[in-house]
Amino acid sequence: MTQLQEQSEKILERVGAARFEAGSNFHDELVESLYTEAARIADRAVTRKGERGRFDTDRTIDRLVTSRWLGFPLMLLMLTVVFWLTIEGANYPSAMLATLLVDMIHPLLNSGADSIGVPWWLSGLLIDGVYLAMAWVISVMLPPMAIFFPLFTLLEDFGYLPRVAFNLDGLFRRAGAHGKQALTMAMGFGCNAAAIVSTRVIDSPRERLIAIITNNFALCNGRWPTQILVATIFIGGLVPAHLAGLVSAAAVVGVAVLGIFLTFVVSWGLSRTVLKGEASAFSLELPPYRPPQILRTIYTSVIDRTLIVLWRAVVFAIPAGAVIWLASNIQVADKSLAEHFIDFTGPFGTFVGLNGVILLAYVVAIPANEIVIPTILMLTVLTARITGTGDGAGVMFEPDSVAANADVLRAGGWTLLTAVNLMLFSLVHNPCSTTIYTIYQETKSAKWTTVASLLPVVMGFVMCFVVAQVWRWFS
């Protein structure tokens, strides 16, 4: 035994003896004297005047937004307004970006490549595959994100999120989960991978696992564009034009709320079966409302969120564009690889109310959900042999308008059922590869990572199947 070890043992012995002498309430005594001192010093330093005028405003707002009756309707109303602004506001800049990147620059690149004698397969791969995939992702994603993220961040800075957590706490507790899961769920509306890191605010490992596994039911920004576009084409198309924006927004909110509902159901199921336990108590501070700094918020949410998320999407769109082009242009026995896959999975797809194109799109989109819609459009054009749209086989293109997108999908045999099921499947399917990797990083468990990845896919297929059966029964 070294000298240091001897000394350490001696210290610990002495500690034991002293603790025995002092009794067990030393900790309490210390905490008590801390609190007394804090109160004494604070009392000496703070003077209050009688008037507390504006503080009452906070209380009034709190009474409204956390009220038993108005809390939830106000929450839904606020979500709807945010999405409505996003849908209405993003349309025009999206079309402008598409005109610039696809209609103007893309032909220029092609003719430029032709004039310097680039072989067709190389220009096809780089310009029709990689460049167009990037162009599509930018024109579809940038405008909604540039509107949605600042709006959401403003709500966050104002102090609304803790009130949401307060409203949802009772439901989470009844589901056997931690109330702070409301906060991580709200983060998931931005990005599931980031939200899974933020589950560190939950101390209990059991409740943290529940929060991680169910976070995928919070619709992330990669999936908002899919929801918004499909809702605009198929749901908004059911009503007169002046109502279309609002009805589409309501449909998207409906899917988001279904996601929240599934979060509760799955949390409840997990905490009753494999992750049994009581919900732990915690204290949540409702911070004072603070006037958001509008300009700074817009700046940071554009830099921190929009551009970073966009960059990630572009990075993943590059290989995806190449894969799509290759799969559509490599012919095996008279058919391209893509067609083989689509024909092979088609019967199963139809069985669950989707189709082979959607299934292939979700395989290609495992790295990033953002590219689902471009992939679907391109593959539909390819397999339905639509002529006069796009530039040829395996070209990811952007038709000029929502109406053109709708024509393509209808020609590909899409119905309202396909659209509804696509929206459902987009909500309930495996997390993207970044999120899966993050789940593994945070849990260090292959088992729970597998559960978190596969559970939603299975649920998604079951859900789509049930909807398809009911639908077909009634029609």
Partner: protein
Amino acid sequence: MSTEEKVASPAVADSPCEACPAHHAGNLIKLGVNMANWDFVVALAGNPNTGKTTVFNSLTGLRQHTGNWPGKTVVRAEGGFAYAGQRYKLMDLPGTYSLLSTSDDEEVARDFILFGSPDVTVVVVDATVLERNLNLVLQVLEITDRAVICLNLMDEVQRRGMEVDERRLARDLGVPVVPTLARKGEGIPELLQAVSDVAAGRAICKPHRIESPPGLKNALGDLTDEVATAFPGLPNARWVALRLLEGDGRIAEAVRSGEIADLGLHLSSRVPSDAGLVLQEMEE
């Protein structure tokens, strides 16, 4: 100094105050994540939702996202700044209400203040709920001698018709107290001055310490001496002794394994990145 610093442009004077020679904000150079060769380490502690991250951003020029909800910063963030010719490394610790209990974020914060031996610990305080915030301040002052209190959210204080006497507070606590409104950058120059005064030893802190319970006064004194002799590199033997008496299993384990001595030595030798390294070990 290095070229990166010249790139950062000095703040443009847009108020008469900022043109005055007594105004020091021009000396602040925000270094972002460039933290090599620091002279001083500054830890940023505080209750959740007091604006620590806002203070962090306004000193480092980084744009860590802030949010008006508790628990936003889940892991510590690092950044750098230079002030009056000296380079500082700033650590934004997770927000905690106390340093006594055992949740992960409290441990990260406590271990850094105790073992990371920061040159200055800035405690960001929500001035509107001073009493609750002082619990943490007093605990920090138990651990370290060198602290500065940043009395934040002073606009809320006014809004609620309250007044906080920062001079009396500074006298009672024995450390500098600086009122700020970090969102608008008000009080940040004064905060920087206070931090640099404490870091360089120009301001001497006599922090307020809790009287130890009478029954244990002698035991605590003896134990403190013994801990200090056994582990000479340790920054605060009294706190370790207190924790041992309270029955903190983790600290007892660190004493038994001798780990606690390594921590003291590692950090007193000031090898760059050591603080981060040790903290990583502790987080695992």
